[in-house]
Structure formats: C-alpha cells, structure tokens
Amino acid sequence: MEQQAIWAIGIFLVIYALIIAEKIHRTIVAMIGGGLMVVLGIVDQETAVHHIDFNTLGLLIGMMILVNITAETGVFKYIAVVAAKKARGEPVRILIALALITAVGSAFLDNVTTVLLMVPVTFSITRQLRVNPIPFLITQILASNVGGTATLIGDPPNIMIGSAVKELTFMAFIENLGPIAVIIMAVHIPLFILLFRNQIQTTDELKRSMMKMDETQLITDRKLLKKSLTVLGLTILGFFLHQLLHLESATVALAGAFLLLLFTGEHVMEEAFARVEWMTIFFFVGLFVLVSGLIETGVISQLAKTAIELTGGDLTATSMLILWLSAIASAFLDNIPFVATMIPMIQEMGNMGVSNLEPLWWSLALGACLGGNGSLIGASANVIVAGMSGKEGYPISFVQFFKYGFPLMLLSIILSSVYVYIRYLM
C-alpha cells in the first residue's frame, strides 16, 4: 500500500474516532480532517472541491429555508392541535397521530427539520394533558427515521445516495422505499400502543380542556401561510417531476426557497438564512473531502474488492451484508460519515463487474436510515430530540431509548431483508 493511502487511512480513523468520542464538535473535527487531506497533499485542492457534493448541500439549505419560513406561520402547531382534537384528547391516540405526522413530515421535509418542529408542539400538548412527554418523543424519533427512509429528501443518507446516483430519482425512492416504510410504520404502531399506553394517562377534564381549544388562533400570519404552502407544494411537485424537468433535486429546493424569499421580501431573508444549520452543512463539506482522500488513494476500491471476495460476488449475500452492516453501524455511529464511505465503495463494486447495483443502493438506504433507530446516537434526529428534551428537564437516557429502539430497529431490518430479497433478489 502506498504511503499516501496509509496517511489517508490514519487521518480517516483518527477523525472518525473523534467524531464518535463527541469531545470536540463533529463539524470542527470533520473540517480539520478534510483540511489535513489537502494540506498533506493526499488530494489537491481542485480534486477536493470536485468531491464536495453541492447537490446534497443545496438540497439541505433549500429545504431548511423553506421549512423555517413556513414554520413562522404556526401551521405545524395548527396541524398538531387539530390532530390532537381529532384524537378527542386521548393521549394514546395523540401519540399515534403525532408519530404519523412526524413520519409523513420526515418523508417530505426531512426528518431533522420535522423533529425540530414537532418537539415544541409535543411539549405543549403533553403539558396541557399533564402526561409524560418522553413516550411521545421516543415514538417521534422512531417515526422520523422510518418516515425519512421513504423518500430522497427524507433522511441525510438518502439525500447523499440520491445525489451520488443520478438514476435514483425522487420517484424511484418513493416506489422502492415507500412501501417498506409504510409496512414498518404499520407494524410499529400497535407496538407503540402496547409499549406506552400505561405511561400516558390523563383525566377527562384535561381532555375536555383540549377539545375546547381554538386552534385557528395558532395561525399567526395568513398571508405568509398562503405563500409558504403554495411554494412548498410547488417544490414537492418539483421533486416528483425533477427527472422530467432535467433538474437536480437541489435546484428544485433552492428555486423553491428563493421564490418564497422573493414573495416574502428581504426582512424575512436574514432570519431565514440565520436559521440554516450551517454546522451541519460544513460537517458534510468536511466529510466529502475526508472521504475523497480514501477514494483518490485507492483505499475504497480495495475495500470494495475485499467485500466482493467475502461474499463471492453473490448479489444476495452482498445486499444482506450491506443492509445489516449499515444498520448495525448506523445504530452506533453517525450514519452520515458511514454512508459517505459506503457510496464510493458500492460505485467501485459496479466498476468491478457487479452489474445490478440497485439492490445494494436500497440496502444501504434502508440499513443506514432505519439503523439510526438502534440507539440514541444513531441519527441526527435522535440526538437533536434528546438534547431538546434534556434541556427542558426530561432527559432521555441511552439505555431508556435503547430498550425500545434497538429491538424495533432489528424488527425493521428483518422486514427490510425480506422485502429486499422478495423484490430484488428472488
């Protein structure tokens, strides 16, 4: 192995360990790792920039701007309260309703943004009913990762896969991952009821108080609401049609964001840009450059070769290996750097003669997205909800989440294995 490759592996492993240790913010660590790859000459600057996937970044930025402006109107609170009233103030029904809203929201907005919108509403509803918010938050974490699996924009791993593989369009994600996401949600819901119903009891008086709420007062700006929902609807339509329009998903999201900013005016722009999670964006930049070091020095192709040797090039064995490895790894490691490493590896398998890569891509998406449910640190949405909950005096411990999340994650991966086998490998 060349000296450059050894340096690249060394930097990658140290940076990965630092990301897991969480002693220094992951964005700083990833950017330093990417910087070292360039400074030490493992990749030149032009190659490093070439490896940064601007489609992933553009899609994330565009959606963050769109959703943050829409949230200002109070529409997401309105939807949650209407759902709670439709559930007649019954906590178990509300738990299911909020989990379903989270799943659908995660599919079409992205799961990190969705949980950021859902957590404050959940605190408001649970405080009103005087019930423990933790079962609601745990089910929303699980639902966000399942719902996010269904679409190209639902979860960062899917955004990265969809961006790297041009044939995997928005519709392709829905057609291939939508059915299994619906099946997994349908299996999870009765389990949520079984697991949490005894922990969330309230009084009839508090239910009646919820039923009397005037939800129309939650809409704070009707003009902005009309503009936001129109543009959000057009953007989602744009995702469905992006292949026909010959546009990248990032172009659709950014066009939607700037169209809305055009309608809303400059006073909204500053706030909208301030709310973009730039730390996440730069985390991606650092990772793309970090992984470019492994690609350019041939480490990834060597890994792909080893994986093919391990499975004898058998498509079923390779798919199952990727699905389960991604799930277990994503349960305990950040799934974003994991997927950033796996994408070039699967592409390399294609160069090595594996003709049908489709089952491998869907296995990676399912493993990485659903694996996030395995532990509290498994996905960005989990970490964000746990942080917000702890800050409000409701800490969710690693073990507390693990005892619900890990078995449900295993169940979802078993269902996914059967699905991948029947649909692509039989």
Binding site: S124, S209, K212, M213, D214, Q217, M388, K391, E392
Partner: protein, 101 residues
C-alpha cells in the same frame, strides 16, 4: 412574594398552583388593544429558547389557559406588567396572600 393588581374591567386572572407549575386562567374583557398585548407576551415566551417556560392555550371569547413553570413565574408577571395587562406589581413579605394585603 410577588403580588399584582389589574383592572377588572379589562382582564380577569385566576391562578392555581400545581406541583411543577402555576396555571393561569386569563380572560381579556376588552379586546382592543389588550388581546394584542397578551399575544405579545405569548410571542416573547414562544420565541425564546425554552419550550416549557410559559405555555399558552387559546380558547373562544379571548380566554386563555397559561401554564407557567415555577422558575418563570416572575418573568411572566413582569411580562404582563410590561405589556400593560397589570396595573401594579409589588414585592410583599413572604406568607402574605393577596387578600391579606
């Protein structure tokens, strides 16, 4: 303890103390401009970074249920005062109730 006075022709306030919070039932009797003033109080607490400090629930006829965490009680009362929903706010000796003053 903090005590307050308000104009009963404009607003009615009822307080219930619970284990973790204080619950206010507020009815605004004179819509303009006091409903907007109360909304400004609501916006202030909704825009800060704490989600469970002061939670507002709106009902018909300008009635509101407000759940205030004990550690935000003073902030909430002072916010009502700032937006002219109270006439006066005063620190009283511990142990004295409103009716005893």
């Amino acid at each position: 303890m903090l005590t307050y006075q308000y104009n009963q022709d404009i607003i009615r306030i009822r307080e219930t103390v619970n284990k973790d919070d204080v619950e206010f039932h507020i009815q605004v009797l004179k819509e303009k401009p006091f409903v907007d003033h109360l909304k400004q109080v609501q916006n202030f607490f909704e825009d800060n970074e704490v989600y469970t400090d002061v939670l507002f629930y709106a009902y018909a006829d300008h009635e509101y249920r407000v759940i205030v965490r004990h550690d935000y009680y003073t902030d909430f009362i002072l916010a009502l005062m700032k937006h002219r929903l109270l006439q006066s706010v005063k620190w009283e000796k511990e142990g004295l109730t409103d009716s005893e003053q």
